[in-house]
């Protein structure tokens, strides 16, 4: 599915990712935790191809293709989905229009016919239901005037509609109360199957109570310093990052 080898990447002149290795197989859920400034969100942006995030060295393949050979939208069409930490508003463009264009662009890329308006509407309604978004959100402008929680749910709604093969969730739990968190987690869990993989970036173990990871990785100073199963997240919750060694005591404080 996704194979990251010795990735180095920088933002402006600061190298953030410094020799990161990660393999994600179909159906797996990988959680990435780590202190502030470790490079967690940067990893999501580098993989999705955001401008300003430059790859210095390393290789990444997605479903067998060289990721860095592809434009942002090609990566998306090839199954990479990023759920944003701070989804931006697009005033005047309805969620419905936006997602219809988006779904059909992806279908076109796969050589499939565009969805009919009726079929799309059916799927969109279903996706809204799964994340408990009222249907009038389809008519509203993309993220326009949405609350923080609504924006996060809207991201998951989009993920459900696009059926990606690799979902990167960038702090989809931040700013959510416990009920909203459960809704987001349920939405994600409903999409888990043997083919779809997830990278869940989070600060808090709490989310992982609801989305059970197969692996937990601790990212620090731009590389994975420790990997384990779900119990590693609990350890972080209880002890902070101090157990990683003296150098992390400060950043975790």
């Amino acid at each position: 599915m996704l194979n990251i080898k010795n990735l180095h990447a920088r933002v402006e002149d600061k190298t953030i990712i410094q020799g990161l290795n990660l393999e994600v197989n179909p159906g797996e859920v990988h959680a990435i935790m780590g202190p502030n400034g470790a490079g967690k969100s940067t990893l999501g942006y580098v993989l999705s191809g955001r401008e300003g995030y430059e790859v210095e060295q390393g290789e990444v393949s997605l479903n067998g293709n060289d990721l860095f050979e592809m434009e942002i939208e090609e990566r998306a069409s090839n199954g990479l989905f990023l759920a944003f930490q701070y989804p931006v508003e697009i005033p005047g463009v309805s969620n419905m229009e936006f997602m219809k264009e988006s779904v059909n662009a992806t279908r076109e890329h796969r050589g499939e016919e565009p969805l009919s308006a009726t079929e799309f509407l059916k799927q969109a309604k279903e996706a809204c239901k799964q994340v408990q978004l009222p249907l009038d959100f389809l008519k509203r402008g993309v993220n326009e005037g949405f609350s923080g929680g609504e924006k996060k749910r809207n991201e998951i709604m989009q993920m459900i509609l696009l059926k990606p093969s690799l979902c990167i969730l960038d702090e989809s739990d931040s700013g959510l109360d416990i009920d909203a968190l459960k809704v987001v987690a349920n939405g994600v869990n409903s999409q888990r199957d043997s083919a779809r993989s997830f990278i869940v970036i989070t600060h808090y173990q709490r989310l992982l109570d609801f989305i059970k990871p197969d692996f937990v990785h601790i990212l620090a100073n731009g590389k994975i310093v420790k990997s384990g199963d779900a119990s590693l997240a609990l350890k972080v919750e209880n002890e902070g990052y101090a157990f990683l060694g003296k150098e992390f005591e400060e950043v975790s404080a």
Binding site: E51, A76, V88, I90, G92, V93, F98, M99, A105
Partner: protein, 478 residues
């Protein structure tokens, strides 16, 4: 990201071709004899010629206005030809079958197959090619409802009383420099008359095309809506791609009598000039309507073309309870300059006006909103709401807003809101992350920005306007 936007904006002007049509074109230059010849070509009555000559005298005494936020070399009015008509028009065709096939092909290439238009009931068209009206469709059907829709030249002959009464009643000859010039040399345009209580059974539309080189187009449109009547009118414009600048100086007058409604929509796509600002149309237009008691005039415009635009469709809200609306989308790119907006003159009691202006600037262009809201001393309880939004694409363009408010009535309420935003990297990234290419992303964001205005356009036109923006932004065939 800005590089991608630049590419996305690298458009082609689709209407830029020239048609090989034999024309009778006046030599360039302007003096009294030219005006006499225009009048003669049109076999006009003496009163019309006198009217033109008076306008010419006035014009000679006026100075070219320089207050607009636009820059262009001085226009040489002696280098322009003031009349050009296809030879085949010498005897005006009575129906589409008699129209020169090359002319029909021109309109087909522009996406306006006249034959098809005639079949598809719904829109009646007047087609103006350079200085003359080529054909007007659906005349019989309109006549049944008592609606008059013909070229202004024809109206001068057939309905002289109506023309005499209303021509220059809203935009006087001496109104401004270009209006005076137009009054002296106007060649053709449309005339619409809706009788009392009649709801015009179909959309009326005029399509303007400048074809000949060094020719100015000076059209004159007059729409009169009698008491309680209703009409929706659309105009579209294109011109060939040339290195020289061409002048288009039109005058549009709307008269909405008591309880009448006029909806006037424009999709303007004159040739904007090339990347370096060479060529393109100078679009200096005066559009104004007068509203009597309870009447309503609504202007909607989508402006994507012209090298320089100078245009302020306005409403004089004379009657009590009358309503004026102005909805505008102006897109500038390359080196285009637009100085556009509206004037809402509130004279009557409880008059209301709404102004929604959306300016989109890209490339090295400059986009200016200039608007006047005036509340007269008798305009008790009058209200205006203005919303003026600018969207910047890239960082080499400019957006400017000059709102003027004059209130002489303490009970009048004027509200003004203005915003400036940019197509942000975050928005583009979100769209691309969802699988959309940058061109599609930009056009979607821009269309979203314009939504409030597009929903005011008649349905067929709204689709067309959306497409035009997309073409303007994409550089691909829509």
């Amino acid at each position: 990201m800005s590089e991608q936007i630049e590419q996305a904006l690298d458009r082609k002007y689709e209407a830029g071709f020239y048609s090989e049509i034999e024309s009778d074109t006046f030599e360039s230059g302007l003096d009294e004899s030219i005006i006499r010849r225009i009048s003669e070509m049109k076999k006009e009555p003496q009163w019309m010629l006198d009217w033109r000559l008076k306008a010419y005298e006035t014009w000679l005494k006026m100075d070219e206005p320089e207050w607009a936020h636009v820059h262009y070399p001085k226009i040489d009015f002696q280098a322009i030809s003031y009349y050009s008509a296809p030879k085949s028009m010498a005897d005006k065709p009575q129906s589409l079958d008699e129209v020169d096939p090359e002319l029909l092909r021109t309109y087909e290439k522009l996406g306006i197959p006249l034959h098809e238009q005639e079949m598809l009931a719904g829109v009646a068209m007047d087609v103006v090619f350079d200085s003359v009206s080529v054909v007007t469709t659906f005349r019989e059907k309109l006549a049944e409802a008592g609606v008059i829709f013909c070229s202004i030249s024809e109206a001068v002959h057939t309905y002289p009383e109506l023309v005499k009464k209303h021509l220059g009643s809203v935009v006087p000859r001496a109104d401004n420099y270009y209006a005076a010039l137009n009054s002296a040399v106007f060649t053709d345009g449309s005339f619409v008359y809706i009788p009392k209580g009649v709801r015009c059974p179909m959309e009326l539309s005029t399509y303007f095309r400048i074809n000949e080189m060094n020719t100015g187009q000076f059209e004159r449109t007059l729409i009169v809506a009698e008491e309680g009547s209703h009409v929706s009118y659309l105009e579209g414009c294109t011109a060939p791609q040339r290195d020289e600048n061409q002048l288009h100086a039109a005058v549009v007058e709307l008269v909405a009598l008591d309880d009448a409604t006029i909806k006037y929509s424009t999709v303007q796509n004159w040739y904007p000039g090339d990347e370096d600002g060479k060529g393109g149309i100078y679009n200096f237009v005066t559009k104004r309507g007068i509203c009597h008691t309870n009447a309503k005039i609504s202007w909607t415009q989508v402006e994507t073309g012209s090298a320089v635009t100078w245009k302020y469709p306005s409403c004089i809200l004379k009657g009590d309870n009358s309503v004026g609306e102005f909805y505008s989308v102006a897109l500038t790119r390359g080196r285009q300059q637009a100085d556009t907006g509206t004037k809402m003159i509130h004279l009557g009691k409880n008059t209301r006006s709404t102004i929604i202006s959306k300016g989109i600037s890209a490339g090295k262009s400059n986009n200016t909103y200039r608007g006047l809201v005036k509340m007269g001393p008798k305009a008790d309880g009058a209200r205006n709401f203005t919303e003026c939004d600018s969207l910047l694409i890239g960082d080499t363009c400019g957006a400017h807003t000059f709102p003027y408010i004059e209130s002489r009535n303490p009970s009048a309420i004027v509200e003004h809101e203005a915003t400036t935003s940019k197509v942000s990297d975050e928005q583009l990234f979100l769209c691309q992350q969802r699988g959309l290419n940058p061109e599609k992303a930009v056009s979607m964001i821009v269309n979203g920005f314009c939504k409030e205005v597009f929903k005011e356009l008649p349905m067929e036109f709204a689709v067309e306007a959306g497409k035009l923006l997309e073409i303007s932004l994409e550089g691909s065939v829509g």
